[in-house]
């Protein structure tokens, strides 16, 4: 197999591969900065919780309209936002911490979703929702993902400064009247949007994969917020590209293939990245001592 046959011809020959790739690119643009901020805010697992929370909404859309993306998307956004806002409400009104209330609501949401799908659809459909399908990326889905990526970047531009302060020193933002709660809520809305965009390609179970893994990997390469975001977007695009190729050549499901490639990038970064990786922390340290 020539490099051309390996890397390019699948995209040249098949429209669904091209659409998958463009979808991954758009998702990566939004997920890079969002994932970076989730990592910096120590909210990695909250992204995971929200991604599962999307399921019942998507399932409801599926029951009413079949495998038709706009309905599933709308449902997913509604369910994700409901979980995010309800958790926020409980956190604000009671002493329960945010992670606990998130866990509670996402479990309710996930159970509800599985229940809905298993009573109203076949198991194949459930697998579709959970794992996504690259074949399902039609032009409507692409437009949708593109719109979400655009909204995400514009939205981040608007809330960037207060969001940075809310991450760094929330008490200060409160003291100067910087509307930290509003910023936090808007950010969660953007997280939900991006998870919904990602679940078209990766499925609800792994939608968070392109958000967290590249962001966690970037931490071992660069330091500044802007370069962290750009690096995670880059890692996400590369993972999408390689993952799609793997799934094409080896006949694997695309979602797990893409997320696994991102996972490999993460592991490689932990081991060999230039900053704070195991190599720099232990190997070079040992050499200096010797």
């Amino acid at each position: 197999m020539t490099p051309y046959e390996f890397a390019l011809s699948p995209f040249v020959e098949f429209g669904f591969m091209r659409r998958g790739l463009v979808g991954c690119l758009a998702i990566a643009l939004g997920c890079g900065p969002i994932g970076t901020i989730l990592v910096l805010r120590r909210m990695s697992l909250m992204g995971d919780a929200l991604s599962h929370a999307v399921l019942p909404g998507a399932a409801l859309g599926f029951i009413f309209a079949g495998l038709w993306l706009p309905a599933m998307t709308l449902g997913g956004v509604a369910a994700g936002l409901a979980v995010a806002l309800l958790s926020g409400l409980v956190t604000r009104l009671t002493p329960l911490r945010e992670d606990a209330s998130f866990a509670a609501f996402y479990l309710i949401s996930l159970a509800l979703g599985v229940l809905l799908v298993s009573t109203h659809g076949s198991n194949v459909d459930l697998l579709h929702l959970l794992f996504g399908s690259i074949l399902a990326i039609d032009d409507t889905a692409l437009v949708l993902i593109g719109v979400i990526a655009t909204l995400t970047l514009l939205g981040l531009a608007v809330i960037y400064r207060p969001l940075v302060v809310e991450c760094f020193d929330p008490g200060f933002l409160r003291a100067v009247g910087g509307r930290g709660g509003l910023v936090h809520t808007l950010f969660l809305v953007l997280v939900v949007f991006n998870l919904v965009a990602a679940f078209q390609v990766l499925g609800t179970l792994m939608a968070v994969g392109l958000m967290m893994l590249p962001a966690a990997a970037a931490r071992f390469w660069v330091r500044e917020l802007s370069s962290l975001s750009a690096t995670s977007s880059g890692v996400a695009v590369a993972s999408g590209f390689l993952g799609l190729l793997l799934s094409y050549h080896l006949d694997l499901p695309s979602g797990p293939a893409i997320v696994l490639v991102a996972g490999l990038a993460y592991l490689a970064s932990v081991l060999f990245g230039p900053r704070d990786s195991l190599r720099t922390l232990y190997l070079q340290h040992g050499r200096r001592e010797a």
């Binding site: 809330i159 020193d169 008490g171 200060f172 409160r174």
Partner: protein
């Protein structure tokens, strides 16, 4: 009591509570305009709570806290460091520029004037040349200086400090104390929660001795006398039957009234 136009903040029989457990009770008095006051008292005596009340972060369950022509955003406040994410990748100069939040807000550009103000503040705390460093690379003392620079950039009429020297060496605290004295000379109203009574006697004309209730409030040499200090300790001990309840509140995620150090574990010269 009556308030005069010389008062910056007036307390009228103020009780502040967390979750129905009072942390500060029946405090009356005032911080006069341009005063420099140390707030002292044993651990758990409600000093930080009092600051939160002045900031409006905690509403009195009883009584009234009156601000004379100072809006909430016109107060510069330095909390204890617990809430700050030290490892967040933000530069020293950007941190100081946040002090100009009222001018730049969510989206306005930081003008050359803003940058100059931030530079000057950094120079005043002795950190010129470190503008581009990320804050996570700074020592605890350097970081506290950055926060002081941000405070200066806020250019506030009223400045509240909560244990500003708890994590810094004596050289840093010495320099920062002189900075506070210069704010006093500029006519700003300053109140600081402090532990070191020698520092208070040397730099603070006024003192407020707190032990859940106001023990004494006035000129430092009249407030920090052995009789008052003994009374402050005894008053807090008489509260100790409720300490167990407080700890329970703290465990549930409420803000604890009791500092982690036991009252008798403090160094000499403290309350």
């Amino acid at each position: 009591m009556s308030s005069s136009s010389d008062d910056a903040i007036v307390f009228r029989n103020v009780t502040l509570a967390y979750d129905h457990y009072p942390a500060v009770q029946h405090v009356s008095g005032s911080f006069s305009r341009g005063s420099l006051t140390a707030i002292v008292g044993p651990n758990g005596s409600g000093k930080s709570t009092l600051l939160k009340g002045m900031l409006g972060l905690l509403r009195p369950v009883e009584g009234l806290i009156e601000h004379q022509d100072i809006s909430r955003s016109g107060i510069a406040y330095l909390p204890q460091q617990t809430e700050i994410e030290r490892r967040f990748p933000i530069s020293v100069i950007d941190t100081v520029l946040l002090g100009l939040w009222r001018r730049i807000g969510w989206a306005r550009a930081a003008t050359r004037q803003c940058r100059e103000a931030a530079q000057q503040a950094l120079a005043a705390v002795g950190l010129e040349g470190l503008e581009r460093r990320r804050v996570e690379t700074l020592s605890a003392g350097q970081f506290q200086r950055v926060l002081f620079a941000r405070l200066m950039a806020q250019d506030a009429k009223l400045i509240l400090l909560d244990e500003p020297f708890s994590a810094v060496d004596w050289r840093t605290s010495d320099q920062l104390l002189r900075l506070i004295a210069s704010w006093h000379r500029e006519g700003r109203t300053v109140a600081a929660v402090l532990h070191d009574l020698d520092q208070v006697r040397a730099y603070f004309p006024d003192a407020l001795l707190l032990s859940r209730e106001c023990v004494a409030w006035g000129p430092t040499r009249e407030v920090l006398v052995p009789h008052n200090l003994r009374r402050a300790r005894q008053m807090l001990e008489s509260w100790s039957t409720e300490a167990e309840d407080n700890r329970r509140v703290a465990a549930l995620g409420g803000t604890p009234h009791l500092d982690p150090l036991p009252a008798n574990g403090e160094r000499e010269g403290s309350v």
